[in-house]
């Protein structure tokens, strides 16, 4: 799926300037937890997220993610957009909800490449530091 298709499917707007527009993605991953993105995403993918801080751009950079879509009209600040331009990662924003964003992309054939975990469940433990 290429950038033009993603823009039209999600009725999204481009937030970044001077980033390559010929990008295509082979899969998508959706998360608000950056360590999940770093653990489970794959290359040549699209990230759908509701977080808009600079760490999202850093995470995408490290995980070699091609495109980021922010949902529900959430836009990062101009410094974060600048960082994405520097790293040549296109940022898109859609007014759709997380559910509808993923649903529409799925409907048009995009899939995740998540390998279902064949392991013990991860139990989140909240602990206070000493």
């Amino acid at each position: 799926m290429n950038l033009a298709e993603i823009l039209s499917i999600l009725k999204a707007r481009m937030l970044t300037d001077q980033v390559p527009l010929q990008k295509t993605v082979e899969s998508a991953y959706c998360a608000d937890l950056m360590s999940d993105v770093l653990s489970f995403s794959v290359t040549k993918s699209l990230l759908v997220t509701g977080l808009t801080n600079a760490q999202v751009i850093r995470t995408a950079e490290m995980a070699a993610i091609e495109v980021i879509v922010f949902i529900q009209g959430k836009s990062p600040d101009s410094q974060t957009i600048k960082l994405a331009e520097e790293k040549r990662i296109p940022l898109l924003v859609t007014d759709l909800s997380m559910f509808d964003t993923c649903g529409k992309l799925y409907e048009r054939g995009l899939r995740s490449q998540f390998h279902h975990l064949n392991q013990a469940p991860i139990i989140t433990v909240r602990a206070q530091s000493l």
């Binding site: 770093l38 600079a54 991860i122």
Partner: protein, 148 residues
Amino acid sequence: MINAEEGVFFLTGKDFTNAGAASSSLKGVLEKRGVPQDIIRRTAIAAFEAEMNVIIYAVAGMMKYRISNTEISVTIQDMGQGIPNIDLAMTEGYSTAPDYIREMGFGSGMGLPNIKKSTDHFVINSMVGEGTTLEFTIRLANGDKERA
């Protein structure tokens, strides 16, 4: 054959503006050397998880790297609160991150396990009240990619 090269980046606790800059620079060094993309990605992910932990949990630290023809080794050392129970800290899902860190998308307790998963060799040492040191290695040439 290219020469071995090494370098160091300094990290400041709670400096969220520059958080990730060291890992980004390391990634740039590897790209310039023509290291294969999948190895760059594994190194960048491990370095970034370790860097974020220093930013979140420590006062200050540094990231040292050395790249030879056979491997990339990275040491991340910090001055900070240290880790009282390393087995617990290494457990997926265990986190002491405060709420404002969770709001930034961190604190799911996946960082240290992910560093282990992404690297060929990983050692962590910590002293409560003093700090934490992580060392990891990723094999480059001819090394089989099997991970422990």
